[in-house]
Amino acid sequence: MLAFILRRVLQSVIVMLTVALVAFALFRFVGDPIASMVGQEATLAERMELREALGLNDPFIVQFFTFLSRAVVGDFGISYRLQQPVMELILSRLPATLELALVSGIAAFVFGVGFGVYTALRRGGWASSSIMTVSLIGVSLPTFLIGVLLIWVFAVELQWLPSFGRGDVVDLGGWWRTGFLTESGRMSMILPAITLGLYQMTLIMRLVRAEMLEVLRADYIKFARARGLSNRAVNFGHALKNTLVPVITITGLQLGSIIAFSIITETVFQWPGVGALFINSVRFVDVPVMAAYLMLIALVFVVINLIVDLLYYLVDPRLRLDRSAAGH
């Protein structure tokens, strides 16, 4: 168990280092950091001086190490565009993104698994056929279009829900502003959460359905039926549990990509999160923000990966205890 965790952690560190290298290369070679920091009127001497001061003349590996050691403590420099420390910008916007991702992630998982199981068991029924058709529309609809159409219907025409922003937020301890505690905050959450979660839900649903159909064909399911176990015991006791093992992995990664997908949703709903920050940094080639966002997303993915692996380990007895003996 311990060896397994250690190996996983080591792999995660390697991935993070690789991403850091990419982020650093971005930082160092995309655009001219000096030109972005000083005005047009700066003299050559001033520029050289700044180069030296920033350590841009040091060998590559030294610069990378400096970048790394700063990144570890959260120092990604100053945003070219906003002239504020990058980490400060990101931290102030992170709660908005995380709350949105959490709500849509949970909704996507619950409805995705529910519909997936239903459509797998009631294959060919009209209800599951319609769910499958709608889900295909869900996969085909670009996220931004869902958002725009939702705004049109529920904000413009019906005027039930707000079309942009987070509503009123409550400050928790000075570093986390939440929208959960106010009426307008919760109302503002609904449309963005649907927009963000719909695509993930359809993916999870289709995955659960495919996986469940595969499991229902398995020999041990046939054998369970041949032993006269009730449909409920076979479908939910045996098939569902086996379905969820691989689903957990992929769903975990889906939840990670929700944070990345929030770029689009945040733009549509002018949601003040890190995604909107990133899209602006791409537009204005604000490299420090891009680099920091890349590292942040990588970190989220690596952490989720790690959690998923551990979960997998707990659910599937084949991986437990005598891994070396039974596996390989």
């Binding site: 041949a226 032993r227 006269g228 176990l229 009730s230 086996n242 093992v245 084949r318 005598d322």
Partner: protein
């Protein structure tokens, strides 16, 4: 057609299959995978079911236990368990028969057990589905049964997961699961094909012994005539979804009546036989969409004559406990032969 029961003086057989037809609708027409299959299994009897792959052996088992995979369906005939029809029962009633009155052992023990549950969980769940016993009582029975099928230290190993057992041990667990609700009939579908040769005989022995102790009947599906010869009381030979011949094992092996069976027996190597004399039937079994008119075996039959190509032979009762579907044994043909 009269029923091919072994001993007419017996009361109703445990299982009686009459003119069973199983069809698969496809876009190029309906495929008839089983065509008027009839046979009986008496109480406590072991019936071997042999044939090449695709002859319909496993399908017969699936039809009996009511687990034909769609779009396959029973399109005709009857299946009776102790005289009571079971081929048209409502789903819930049929479910209560599965496991409780008819048990089934599948081919591959590596995939027959749910990997996420311990052996105890799977056994106890099955026992308590069919019998009104407490968890503790079910567990006690499960341990006893595991011990009986030959799993060492059963009381300890019962809480292991399937992947902790070897293939042979897993098949013992599968047998325990199939038998744990004390069924009257056990369908064993190639129970040893996936196993190591060295443990095949042990598994067959265990299965046969326990069934004998309990007076349960067995339908043993296999393509291995050797296993049938050692295990079964009677044997039914299937060819292209039809019964070619049924009879006591010894008789069929020593003096096969159907030319196909004769060819099949010729392919069992024995110590006394010279390898060069092994007969091979030329050709191969027809695909389901190309079964010839008349007798399905006629294109390959060494003794084929005109009638075989036009009319399909029914099972003919040979009055010695044997049945054969071959025009050679029709009264009219024999008349000609004697003239």
């Amino acid at each position: 057609m009269s029923g091919p029961s072994e001993n007419p003086s017996d009361k109703t057989p445990l299982l009686s299959v009459r003119d069973l037809v199983v069809e698969f609708p496809t876009r190029r027409g309906t495929l008839r995978a089983l065509d008027k299959v009839s046979f009986d299994i008496a109480q406590g009897e072991v019936l071997g079911m042999v044939g090449e792959s695709g002859a319909g052996k496993s399908l017969t088992g699936a039809a009996i236990i009511g687990l034909l995979e769609p779009p396959g369906r029973i399109a005709g005939g009857e299946i009776r368990l102790r005289g009571e029809r079971i081929d048209n029962l409502p789903r819930e009633k049929m479910r209560r028969i599965r496991g409780r009155r008819i048990g089934m052992v599948f081919q591959d023990p590596l995939t027959s057990l749910n990997p996420l549950y311990t052996v105890a969980q799977q056994l106890i769940e099955t026992i308590r589905t069919h019998m009104d016993v407490s968890e503790g009582e079910a567990r006690k029975r499960a341990v006893a049964l595991l011990d009986r099928v030959g799993i060492p230290a059963a009381a300890r190993r019962i809480d292991d997961y399937p992947h902790h057992f070897s293939g042979g041990m897993r098949q013992r667990v599968v047998i325990a699961l199939a038998l744990c609700a004390e069924p009257e009939l056990v369908l064993a579908d190639e129970p040893t094909t996936a196993l190591d040769v060295s443990v095949q005989a042990q598994i067959i022995d265990v299965l046969k012994e326990i069934c004998a102790e309990r007076g349960a009947s067995v339908m043993l599906i296999t393509h291995d005539m050797g296993v049938i010869a050692e295990t079964a009381d009677r044997v039914a030979v299937l060819y292209a979804g039809r019964v070619a011949e049924i009879g006591p094992v010894r008789d069929v092996i020593q003096a096969a009546e159907h030319p196909y069976t004769a060819g099949l027996m010729g392919s069992i190597p024995t110590l006394t036989q010279n390898a060069a004399r092994l007969t091979q039937i030329p050709g191969s079994m027809p695909r389901l969409n190309a079964i010839p008119q008349g007798c399905a075996f006629n294109p390959r039959c060494p003794k084929v004559f005109d009638r075989c190509r036009t009319d399909r032979p029914e099972l003919i009762d040979r009055d010695n406990g044997r049945h054969v579907s071959c025009w050679l044994y029709d009264a009219a043909t024999q008349q000609v032969a004697h003239d």
